[in-house]
């Protein structure tokens, strides 16, 4: 099962932190881990992980590899791997995820779509095996 504590450990190395007194407007696209404690309007995207703090307000589409939400998001969410919704999380929008963990109290108003990274990996393995067989032939 997805371990939220372990995921939080990773954020100690976050390159980008938006504090509670900061308002971000526009397309905020990063490469490293991002922590949002303030507010953001526009879009939020990274190849790594995003942590949305309890008092954070995000009015944006959100894309990340991993995402931990304890605050509010208004917008569609797309997570390649792990999505964790804490008890104070509130999401108004459609959610696409690899794996999902939801604590009691979290609110979701939108559709949930699993892309299943485990299933994807199996498919990739199958494709790889097929390619190998073709090469051997």
């Amino acid at each position: 099962m997805f371990n939220r504590e372990n995921k939080l450990e990773k954020f100690k190395d976050a390159e980008t932190v938006i504090g509670a007194s900061i308002k971000v407007k526009g397309n905020f696209h990063g490469q490293g881990n991002i922590i949002i404690e303030g507010s953001l309007e526009g879009s939020l995207k990274t190849d790594a992980s995003i942590f949305i703090g309890e008092k954070a307000k995000v009015v944006a589409s959100v894309e990340a590899r991993d995402l931990i939400v304890n605050g509010e998001i208004k917008g569609n969410v797309s997570v390649k791997n792990y999505l964790s919704l804490g008890s104070t999380a509130k999401i108004n929008g459609d959610i696409q995820y690899g794996e999902l963990s939801i604590e009691k109290g979290a609110i979701i108003n939108g559709q949930l779509l699993s892309t299943g990274p485990a299933g994807k990996k199996i498919n990739e393995k199958e494709e790889g095996r097929e390619n190998k067989l073709k090469e051997e032939e």
């Binding site: 976050a14 390159e15 980008t16 932190v17 938006i18 504090g19 509670a20 007194s21 900061i22 308002k23 971000v24 407007k25 526009g26 397309n27 905020f28 696209h29 404690e37 303030g38 526009g42």
Partner: protein, 245 residues
């Protein structure tokens, strides 16, 4: 040849002991060179540029942050910069207060600075730019009312506090390891609510209608101002205990 640029405030008697100690140490280490006292010179830029043209191997700022900034201002983006980058190193001997730049390089006092000059541990350092003014350490401005515009997005600060734009860390109290080789500046915003914002940026515009930007604790600049970074701009002789890797 070493060229020592003495700042004008070192003429004051309270610094004479420190200057004597430094000169004795330099003699002991065989690091004697030409001394230029800025006190009596009108054309500081021209004098420093002339020494580089004459083939100075090391230009040593003897003084404080302002001394270093005067030398940087005389060299960067001038005709002699090419020569300076190829042949000349920048050294610092801190005397008196306001020496955060030397502290960043791990140089605590004048005697230690002499040993560091002898060891010649060299680092290429980025320089921060506010408009056309270079800075080594950092630029600061009041947080409330400050906007940071990066083109794709902007940051607005909604509480009192301090905005620091750091090239070279001058204290160890910060959470981030500032790196003057990475071609990035660290934007650190601390507010009254004790929350901290950290970003690594290379180009942005900062503006505050009622506050000015303070560069290296010395020069005030009006905003909006474009902030950027020039990579590996200066070769500096640094100490082992420098505050960066």
């Amino acid at each position: 040849m070493h060229v020592y640029i003495y700042d004008d405030y070192l003429n004051k008697s309270k610094y004479s002991k420190a200057v004597n100690r430094m000169e004795i140490r330099l003699t002991d280490l065989g690091l004697n060179g030409k001394i230029i006292r800025l006190g009596g010179i009108k054309n500081i830029k021209g004098t420093i540029q002339n020494e580089i043209k004459l083939g100075a191997k090391t230009i040593v700022a003897v003084g404080n942050n302002q001394t270093v900034n005067k030398i940087i201002g005389a060299i960067i983006d001038t005709d002699v910069y090419g020569d300076f980058q190829r042949k000349t190193l920048l050294g610092i001997i801190p005397i008196g207060n306001d020496n955060s730049i030397a502290a960043s390089f791990g140089i605590k006092n004048e005697e230690e600075a002499c040993n560091i000059l002898l060891a010649r541990r060299i680092e290429k350092i980025d320089l921060g730019l506010v408009g056309d003014r270079y800075f080594l350490n950092e630029a600061t401005i009041e947080g409330l009312g400050t906007t940071i515009d990066l083109g794709d997005y902007s940051l607005e600060i909604e509480d009192k506090g301090t905005v620091r734009i750091v090239n070279l860390l001058s204290d160890k109290a910060n959470l981030i390891g500032s790196n003057p080789h990475d071609g990035l500046l660290d934007l650190i915003i601390n507010t009254r609510k004790k929350d901290q914002t950290l970003l690594k940026l290379n180009k942005f515009v900062i503006s505050n209608a009622s506050e000015q930007l303070l560069i290296d604790g010395v020069i005030e600049v009006k905003t909006p101002a474009e902030i950027s970074v020039d990579r590996d701009k200066v070769s500096v002789i640094v100490g082992r205990d420098r505050l960066f890797q």
